[in-house]
């Protein structure tokens, strides 16, 4: 017969103020299986755990009920106390009388006490049917996949590789570097983005533990934590990277000119190109959409000038397969398209540009050699108006959230403008200045006081043309008057938006994404880098807009998580997983659809009774199963059992009240 011990916690005043704890103890003592029941102020403290350990030995208890806070909080703590007393840790039941009773019924102590007693009775009844369970071991493939080669992916890959864990880094474009490679200087220190990024890019290319696969995309992911199989589509580059020396003869001679994505279309690149001079790998690819040879079969100049014979117009896309144990997703962000802002004349007036275009202009390796110019006439602008929150915090035209980085990059732009054009003046229309970060507020002060940037509080209502100038009208709420600024150039601080392909990628990886398309973390505060799917982690703006320091921190956090996952040869996992009774399974496969984790597959087993004929039954992959119980509920033939939540345990609970 079961011998249950019940331990009721006061949680300081959290429970005791609203639940009559001694009464709960008296009530549970009446249950005949309960051989010991007591109360304590802080059950999770060392003396509290000691009471549990002592009682287990003294009263020869066979299962334990702790009535306290949520099991999410301290289940692990109490399981360990059971282990320490030589008891199977899974013989513990937690009755949540804090979140489920005292906190939500603060106005009615009697009802709260009654509910706490019911919860304890249920837990006792369930614990009587508890069985000894044992942790599951899952083998691990110690190789990580990093999707995206921006600063987040680079940092994650380097940190993982430095722990001597092989990394496969997949980047969609021909070079790693991402958005950061397009930046000139970075806030708030104004150090040059290229100078701090390109050495890291080179490290990635030369690291013995990193396999860099550029110009590729992940197209399939199968398996479960520690045991994923990934398929990567390597797009045809039409250049043999093994023999190419990156001499540049091909792109110098190529006659086709295409808008240069790296420079936001301000200048042209060739159809055979490297995105920028510091690209890694520094090998060209042919843009199949624009190459005359690939489109019409005429030209072939690049092949003629290449003395290594590296050009191969017959190259095909290639599928690469790798076995990996964990995934870091770092797909970055897209700049929001400001076209909906018709009142700003986006598209009608040439001298309205986006902040990334401005960034390219002021960049030393940019299309204008670091001097901002008006796209309409090429003149250097004197008065420049910066408009913040273009798309951000605009439910009507853009997105609800704050893009977080625009305040700071606009501040940086005003300072850079002043550096490049000394007699210029910057005006900033803003709603708030959000400068929360190390050295950020001081940076804004630098712009306002040292640079003399004029900040006008208000959203711009319209922009119209007057001669060759743009008149920018808005309110200055600080003096409560309408102001118009005569501007040579207008820069829109466009919002950060989720990459357009994120929903597709999320479906492919089996993870969730939010209404904006950002990939969802497992918990916004306590598990910010993990996804709900074990072994898949998030770094950088793919999760939410963030600046470089935060992105790098998150990437390093991902690396720590991956290293932790790979610390042993096998992974330990809670044993609360489903199992199939083949005798009962009818093979209807409803559970396959019910499982949100893709943990259920089918297998063919012998019918039995000596027959060699096969029939199909469901099979659960313990490594993937998260123990949610969806399959148990949907199974018509009760063939599925969830360890720790068996039918008899659940029925006991229900019967007890």
């Amino acid at each position: 017969m079961a011998r249950v011990g019940v331990f009721v916690c006061f949680c300081g005043a959290n429970i005791a103020d609203y639940v009559d704890v001694p009464q709960v103890v008296e009530e549970v003592k009446r249950i005949k299986e309960v051989k010991f029941a007591t109360e304590y102020k802080y059950m999770c403290s060392d003396p509290g755990q000691g009471m549990i350990r002592d009682a287990i030995i003294q009263y020869k208890l066979t299962s334990i009920v702790v009535a306290a806070c949520s099991p999410r909080m301290h289940e692990k703590t109490f399981r360990k106390a059971l282990s320490d007393a030589g008891m199977n840790p899974y013989l513990l039941e937690v009755a949540n009388i804090r979140e489920h009773s005292s906190w939500v019924h603060q106005k009615d102590k009697k009802a709260a006490t009654n509910k706490a007693m019911d919860l304890c009775r249920m837990a006792v009844a369930k614990s009587i049917a508890n069985e000894q369970l044992h942790e599951i071991s899952v083998p691990v493939t110690k190789r990580a996949l990093v999707i995206g080669g921006g600063i987040a992916g680079i940092q994650a890959a380097l940190d993982i590789a430095d722990a001597r864990i092989p990394v496969v880094l997949v980047e969609r474009s021909p070079s790693i570097g991402g958005k950061m490679a397009q930046l000139d200087e970075t806030f708030p220190t104004l150090d040059c983005a290229q100078c701090i990024l390109t050495p890291k890019m080179v490290d990635v290319a030369s690291h013995p533990y990193i396999e860099l696969i550029p110009y590729s995309e992940v197209i399939e992911l199968q398996g479960f934590v520690g045991n994923y199989k990934v398929k990567i589509k390597k797009k045809a580059s039409y250049v043999n990277f093994k023999t190419c020396t990156g001499c540049g003869a091909c792109w110098q001679k190529c006659p086709v000119k295409v808008a240069n994505e790296y420079n936001m279309g301000i200048d042209k690149r060739k159809a055979i190109y490297t995105p920028f001079p510091q690209a890694v790998p520094n090998k060209p690819v042919i843009d199949a959409e624009h190459c005359t040879m690939l489109l019409k079969g005429k030209c072939g100049i690049c092949a003629k000038v290449c003395d290594k014979g590296s050009i191969d117009y017959t190259m095909q896309d290639e599928i690469i397969e790798r076995e990996i144990g964990a995934v870091v997703v770092a797909t970055g962000y897209d700049m929001w398209d400001p076209t909906p802002y018709e009142e700003y004349g986006v598209g009608r007036f040439k001298d309205i540009i986006t902040s990334l275009e401005f960034e390219r202009m002021v960049s030393a390796n940019g299309p204008t050699n670091g001097v901002p110019v008006r796209p309409s006439d090429g003149k250097v602008p004197k008065n420049v108006v910066f408009i913040k929150c273009v798309g951000s915090r605009d439910e009507a035209k853009g997105i609800e959230y704050c893009s977080k980085i625009c305040c700071m990059y606009t501040t940086k732009h005003t300072i850079l403008l002043h550096h490049k054009v000394h007699d210029s003046h910057a005006y900033v229309f803003y709603m708030d200045i959000r400068a929360a970060g190390k050295g950020y507020e001081e940076f804004v002060k630098k712009a306002q006081v040292d640079t003399g940037t004029t900040y006008l509080r208000g959203r711009v209502s319209k922009i119209y043309k007057k001669g060759d100038k743009l008149m920018v009208r808005g309110e200055d709420a600080q003096i409560g008057q309408v102001v118009e600024v005569e501007a040579d150039l207008v820069v829109l601080a466009t919002a950060v938006s989720a990459p357009k392909d994120n929903p597709n990628l999320a479906r492919l990886l089996g993870i969730s994404y939010d209404k904006y398309g950002y990939l969802s973390e497992a918990h916004p505060k306590l598990r910010p880098v993990e996804t709900a799917k074990a072994g898949i982690f998030l770094a950088g703006c793919t999760q939410a807009p963030k600046d470089i320091p935060e992105t790098v921190s998150q990437a390093s956090a991902c690396a720590a998580k991956v290293c932790g996952l790979f610390a042993g040869d096998t992974m330990k996992k809670d044993p609360m997983v489903s199992s199939i009774n083949n005798e009962y399974c009818s093979g209807c496969q409803n559970c396959l659809n019910a499982c949100p984790y893709g943990a259920i597959v089918t297998e063919d087993v012998a019918i039995g009774h000596g027959s060699k004929d096969l029939r199909t039954v469901a099979k659960i992959n313990e490594g993937v199963c998260q123990g949610c119980g969806s399959c148990v509920a949907i199974c018509r033939s009760t063939a599925i059992t969830l360890a720790g939540f068996t039918d008899s345990q659940i029925i006991n609970e229900i019967v007890s009240i």
Partner: protein
């Protein structure tokens, strides 16, 4: 409507900064000065708005405001300013610039305040210190309001709050010389 970006360099800001020794650009428009100022509710534009107007180079609008005339230079604002800007000095600078450039608010209140300033300075010039009784009399005469606050006079006189005569300072002559030098400097400018 205010149009910006057409005047070139903001000379007004430079003038105020040089004259006051403060840096108006330091102001980040928190409004603590406005809440602190005992007379801000009587001003056309409270101190925070004056600071923003200077930043935007709105010279005439700023001159024509009554704010700098109402300012008591009590320094409560600068005492509490998180950026430690000497706001009374800025107000003083605007007053000077406004007089020098003959751009002064001509409302009755401002006229009275200016007369009060003139009479007070006149007292200092004559006696090296303030002669309250004469000052009050002159103010009432010059503002053509002879009986203003007269009902308070008997009580104040009896309590000795307003001495009947004045004893000029020993250094009154030196103070007169200071005035003379200042006037000469002003003329030569």
């Amino acid at each position: 409507m205010i149009t910006l970006g057409t005047q070139g360099k903001n000379t007004f800001l430079d003038d105020v900064n040089i004259k006051s020794g403060a840096n108006v650009l330091e102001c980040y428009q928190c409004g603590k000065c406005v809440g602190t100022c005992p007379v801000s509710q009587y001003m056309d534009f409270p101190p925070r708005e004056i600071m923003q107007m200077i930043k935007l180079g709105l010279r005439n609008e700023c001159y024509m405001a009554n704010s700098h005339w109402f300012c008591l230079t009590c320094s409560a604002c600068s005492g509490r300013c998180p950026r430690e800007i000497d706001i009374p000095a800025v107000m003083e600078a605007v007053r000077h610039l406004a007089i020098n450039e003959n751009y002064v608010n001509d409302s009755k209140k401002v006229k009275e305040i200016r007369k009060f300033h003139d009479i007070f300075l006149d007292m200092i010039k004559r006696y090296g210190r303030n002669y309250e009784l004469r000052m009050m009399a002159e103010f009432n005469i010059r503002t053509r309001n002879l009986f203003k606050d007269m009902h308070l006079a008997p009580k104040a006189l009896l309590k000795g709050k307003i001495p009947l005569g004045v004893k000029p300072l020993k250094s009154a002559k030196a103070i007169k010389r200071m005035f003379a030098i200042a006037e000469k400097l002003e003329k030569n400018k």
